[in-house]
């Protein structure tokens, strides 16, 4: 068992204090512990897998940059969600500013021209397939992307990442009551969308 293996069982706050003392291995353990959850959180929110990986990396690097200012007021994981949320917010803002391109627009070299829609459809090994998602899982994922960001975020936090109302309120920067009401509306909307998708795709 290597040094990292010895520390792998340590609680978050122990690892954080080791990082503060300059122990790089502890940060690697924290990364391994949470990267898949942070990646899922970002990916479910912004939908773009490649971007989600980039933002996950940025989240951890930012966490490292501000590790001295981290106070153990809540779970380390919740702090990571907060950083990720801020990065995501900026990303969504800049995505909205970018010019949109029609899916029917033609791209590619001469002779091999395809539309954006075809190109996206032909991309092999989408992450959902990697994660072994069922058809139903893909439908939920699709339904999620159709929700407004604030509703999507609360569902991703509370139902997918199973974060408490209190933590969600801190991450989203709103009150606990707001989390409750947003979640209620978001679940209702999501349920309806899913019902429609199921009808269309005849999935049980």
């Amino acid at each position: 068992m290597g040094l990292a293996g010895l520390h792998a069982e340590l609680p978050d706050h122990e690892l954080v204090s080791r990082v503060k003392q300059g122990h790089k291995g502890s940060f690697e353990i924290l990364f391994r512990r949470y990267n898949r959850r942070i990646l899922a959180y970002i990916q479910r929110n912004i939908g773009n897998y490649q971007k989600a990986e980039d933002l996950t990396q940025d989240t951890f690097l930012k966490a490292l940059r501000y590790i001295h200012s981290y106070k153990e007021k809540g779970r380390f994981c919740a702090w990571l969600y907060t950083i990720a949320s801020n990065l995501m917010k900026n990303e969504l803002r800049s995505m909205n500013r970018r010019k949109t391109v029609s899916l029917d627009a033609v791209v590619g070299e001469e002779g091999q021209q395809v539309s954006y829609a075809d190109r996206i459809a032909s991309e092999d090994n989408t992450p959902d397939q990697d994660a072994g998602l069922t058809e139903l899982g893909s439908l939920i994922s699709q339904a999620l992307t159709e929700l407004k960001p604030k509703y999507r975020q609360v569902v991703v936090l509370c139902d997918i990442q199973e974060v408490s109302y209190e933590e969600a309120a801190e991450i989203m920067g709103c009150s606990i009551g707001t989390v409750g009401s947003r979640l209620s509306r978001a679940r209702k909307m999501l349920g309806e969308k899913l019902k429609n998708f199921k009808k269309e795709n005849q999935v049980l």
Binding site: V19, G22, K24, F27, E28, F31, R32, N35, R36, R37, L39, A40, Q43, R44, Y49, A52, E53, T56, Q57, F60, L61, L64, R65, I67, H68, S69, K71, K73, P127, D130, A131, L133, L136, G137, I140, S141, V155, C158, D159, I160, Q161, E162, Y165, G180, L183, S184, R187, K188, L190, G191, L194
Partner: protein
């Protein structure tokens, strides 16, 4: 409870966030209403399905690329420490927002108050420093061991041969000037002392932050710093006790008496009981009052004396201090007509 209310509260019901009373009413309704039961089942299923989306497997290149980025950023990121202000902020956060710190803070409040009180009211007397600004001729100083009532000549005695700061002059120190010596020094950054030749001055810082300067012989001129409340300073000679209320003044003591000259502000002069008829003079501008030994019980003659000569620009009012029969205050202020005149400050150089 009706179906509409159930629909409204269904989300909080499943998360266990409803008050007990509403929860009971809802459970009762769901037990009877098949439609609402089906709705609940739908929601439970949705929650189950969402839970399965909690983890996304990263691409094969993700982890190696992060560790490479970590290597590149490690040095820089770990070298950045929070600034002093950030640290203070974090410390305050700790004190005010964490429960265990809250308790500690309230527990420590009396201790903190006493420490603050001590810091503001009582300056530790053992840490007094003097800055020697100027020396002409010979001047020396020595720490005094008050408990033995004698000069501790072995320790701390030095000749002011060069300018500079002398920290920690002790509970008491004596400064002497030779026949041709003159000395200017700043005590704790609070007031400046000019000591004339053949003078001997004891500087005694008190625990409450005040200073007592005992002038054994010679002449001392005092200029108090604006930030220093002058009322914390008094000059004592064999014949009088001069208390300061933020001012510039000079005290001259000789074998037969003493004189206090006021340049700016107010001093209150109290002849010492044991003066045995020695002359105590108080002057401001060109006006001099002589208080001999114990003055009269009601020195009304000193009230509102006005002086206006060609050369001086001061008017002063001397008045009896009602708190003590033997006190006289001399108030020296520049008159309006004298506003263009040069400022006169006590200086022996």
């Amino acid at each position: 409870m009706n179906c509409g209310n159930v629909e409204k509260n269904i989300s909080r019901y499943l998360d266990g966030k409803l008050p007990e009373k509403t929860k009971r009413a809802m459970a009762e309704h769901i037990g009877q209403c098949q439609q609402c039961r089906a709705r609940i089942d739908e929601m439970v299923l949705l929650k189950e399905q969402l839970r399965g989306l909690g983890v996304v497997n990263p691409s094969a290149a993700f982890e190696p690329s992060f560790f490479q980025a970590l290597d590149e950023n490690w040095e820089q990121a770990t070298s950045i420490k929070p600034s002093v202000f950030e640290r203070i902020g974090f410390a305050l956060e700790d004190v005010f927002f964490k429960k265990r710190f809250k308790q500690a803070a309230f527990g420590a409040l009396p201790v903190l108050c006493s420490v603050l009180l001590f810091v503001f009211v009582g300056i530790p007397s053992s840490h007094v420093g003097v800055d020697v600004v100027r020396v002409d001729g010979q001047a020396s100083f020595a720490r005094v061991d008050q408990s033995r009532g004698a000069l501790d000549s072995g320790v701390g005695q030095a000749v002011f041969s060069r300018l500079g700061r002398t920290d920690d002059i002790g509970e008491n120190c004596v400064v002497r000037t030779g026949g041709d010596g003159k000395l200017r020094m700043v005590v704790d950054g609070k007031f400046t002392l000019d000591l004339a030749s053949r003078s001997e001055l004891f500087i005694s810082p008190r625990k409450n932050g005040s200073y007592v300067l005992k002038l054994a012989s010679g002449m001392v001129a005092v200029n108090t710093n604006k930030k220093f409340k002058g009322s914390n300073l008094s000059v004592v000679s064999a014949f009088s006790n001069t208390r300061v209320v933020g001012t510039s003044f000079m005290v001259y003591a000789w074998s037969g008496g003493c004189e206090t000259r006021v340049f700016k502000g107010t001093v209150s002069v109290q002849p010492v009981d044991s003066a045995n008829g020695g002359a105590v003079r108080v002057s401001a501008g060109h006006k001099t009052e002589v208080l001999e030994g114990r003055p009269a019980a009601s020195p009304t003659a000193l009230i509102n004396s006005e002086v206006d000569t060609a050369r001086n620009t001061f008017k002063f009012t001397s008045r009896p201090d009602t708190s003590s029969q033997n006190n006289y205050s001399v108030d020296s202020r520049r008159s309006s007509s004298g506003s263009t005149q040069t400022k006169v400050l006590p200086s022996l150089f």
